[in-house]
């Protein structure tokens, strides 16, 4: 049970980082990045490739590019950088010319293509089988496994606190206001001199870095990453967390992440299997998620904790 609590805490931390990144892109800056999972995947793969030694080493059972044998903090940072780079690349595919709804479709297609390419191209990142850092991965030396696990929860917690501090710098103040203006009407924003493409590419970089850190911290904990781990539906789960929690509201999105990613999608694991229908309860989780998305868009489009704007008063 205690092990499961640790798992949930790590999931919560990594899901929060990802949801914050997606909220900055979608909720604050208006980029419906349906390829957000790619930034998480980039972070995860980068972490693995920076942690493992060269692929060609004797006895290696996996194929991949790179292999740098770096310590844990460097590999995590590499994950963040990889996420930022992939975020910008996703941005370039869609942001230059297309309208917002076409951008979303373009990004979804990019997401599906990337998964297909990585699955098919085994020498790149070991293809369909995925990459694992196990069995010999020990970032904290030879300590008691339980101490190690709690230590890991603490590390994720520290990254989350630091991440939230950085996030708030982008979502509040003049920059947060400008990004929301770009979200609400990109043409009107351009008409008052805002460079819409540049600001959105910045947002893609920052949001992507959050996704990358999330992926790196997750893969270090679960030990491996394969194309099956990053289907586009994972993006939809995060998107639902943003919509249900409250687009553009950091606190609301945090609550939404807890409800959707932890309570709902992990919670169904605790339900008994439905006799004769193995796997149905997991599917039910996704069904509830879809219904919730539709219900919120219809009935409460600004989410549980709607975006708040500063009140200045009309006074002198």
């Amino acid at each position: 049970m205690e092990f499961y609590l640790i798992v949930l805490l790590v999931y919560l931390g990594t899901d929060l980082l990802a949801a914050w990144g997606l909220n900055l892109e979608f909720g604050v800056a208006g980029v419906a990045n349906l390829a957000f999972i790619l930034t998480i995947a980039a972070g995860a793969y980068a972490f693995v490739v920076f942690t493992l030694g060269p692929s060609a080493a004797a006895g290696n059972f996996q194929q991949y590019v790179g292999g740098f044998s770096m310590p844990f903090p460097v590999a995590v940072a590499a994950g963040g950088v990889a996420g930022a780079v992939v975020g910008v690349l996703i941005g370039i595919t869609g942001l230059k010319r297309l309208r917002q709804d076409y951008q979303a479709v373009a990004m979804l297609v990019v997401s599906l293509m990337a998964a297909t390419v990585v699955s098919a191209d085994t020498p790149f990142l070991n293809g369909n089988a995925g990459l694992v850092v196990l069995p010999n991965y020990k970032p904290f030396g030879d300590q008691d496994p339980e101490v190690q696990r709690w230590l890991y929860v603490a590390i994720v917690g520290v990254v989350c606190v630091a991440g939230y501090y950085v996030l708030r710098k982008f979502t509040r103040g003049p920059i947060g206001r400008t990004l929301r203006a770009v979200r609400d009407d990109e043409f009107a924003a351009a008409a008052i001199g805002k460079n819409v493409v540049t600001s959105r590419l910045w947002v893609q970089a920052v949001g992507g870095a959050f996704g990358g850190l999330s992926g790196a911290l997750l893969v270090a904990f679960i030990g491996g990453w394969s194309p099956g781990t990053w289907a586009y539906v994972e993006t939809l789960a995060l998107l639902t967390a943003v919509i249900v929690g409250g687009m553009g509201n950091d606190l609301g999105v945090s609550i939404g992440t807890f409800l959707i990613a932890i309570l709902l999608l992990q919670g169904v694991q605790f339900l008994p299997q439905i006799p004769g229908h193995i796997g149905l309860k997991e599917d039910l989780g996704w069904i509830v998620l879809g219904v919730m998305t539709i219900a919120f868009i219809w009935l409460r489009p600004r989410g549980m904790v709607p975006e708040r704007r500063p009140k200045y008063g009309g006074g002198s």
Binding site: K169, F170, A191, G193, K194, E307
Partner: protein, 256 residues
């Protein structure tokens, strides 16, 4: 070279076709500094398209646009805006999720809090500028009689209020040339008269305004020069009082 003597805007043989429709078909005119120029004509004359091309919203199909002594043909909107050429839209566009006063504040150019350094350094770096900006925005809201709506999300405003917010927002950028597409549409008569006085004052202070307007009495009161467009071409130009007497202008309005 001093650009003081030259017109602030020179449009040479501007063309914009949509498929087979020649919306703007070889339009040339000049706008002098510190004046209010009107662009009138029947529906479909190409006034809004001309404004859209000059303002960078729609790329030109041909011709040349010189603003403040510089060839700006084909520049994107944000670049023109930073140079001082700012436009409003025919259907008012506000930032619905921001409050009214934030709609004004966001428009100020060169905000320290928008830069990478500003984001990292935080409020100590941009706080003072932000307070000035708030004061300036409040003054502007008050001059439009909208201070009670300052904290209202802009999406909740009426059509006329949205238009007023859009005009104020454009003024917050401190433009050299302001392009206004039917700025009086949907405004109450009293606010509309107030706005006329404001436009005259802005022009007296050296700002240049080019406006598309249907209400010819307004045009008469405001504009020292009026350009009449019909079927994508400039039909005539001069003072409103002279234009009313001209046969081709009367014909265009009857036919158009």
């Amino acid at each position: 070279m001093s650009t003081e003597g030259r017109p602030i805007l020179e449009v040479h043989d501007l063309v914009r076709h949509f498929g087979g429709v020649k919306a703007v078909d070889g339009v040339s005119f000049e706008v002098q500094r510190g004046t209010i120029t009107g662009l009138i004509g029947p529906n479909g004359a190409g006034k809004s398209t001309a404004l859209n091309v000059i303002g960078g919203f729609v790329p030109p199909g041909g011709g040349r646009i010189v603003f403040d002594g510089e060839d700006v043909t084909g520049w994107p909107m944000h670049r023109l805006a930073r140079r001082g050429l700012v436009r409003t839209f025919q259907l008012a566009r506000v930032f619905g999720g921001l409050t009214s006063i934030e709609n004004l504040m966001v428009a100020a150019p060169e905000q320290r809090g928008e830069t990478v350094l500003g984001v990292l350094a935080g409020a100590p770096y941009w706080g003072a500028q932000e307070r000035d900006l708030l004061a300036r925005s409040r003054d502007m809201m008050r001059s439009f009689g909208m201070e009670v709506k300052a904290d209202e999300p802009a999406r909740n405003l009426s059509g006329g209020q949205k238009r007023a917010v859009e005009t104020m927002r454009a003024l917050m950028t401190k433009p050299k040339l302001l392009l206004l597409d039917e700025p009086m549409a949907g405004l109450s008569p009293s606010l509309s008269r107030q706005l006329e006085d404001l436009f005259l004052q802005l022009a007296a202070d050296g700002m240049t305004l080019l406006l598309v307007e249907h209400e010819l009495d307004t045009v008469d009161r405001l504009c020292s020069k009026v350009i009449v467009m019909a079927q994508g071409k400039v039909l005539s130009e001069g003072k409103m009082s002279e234009l009313r007497a001209r046969k081709e202008v009367q014909d265009a309005y009857v036919i158009g």
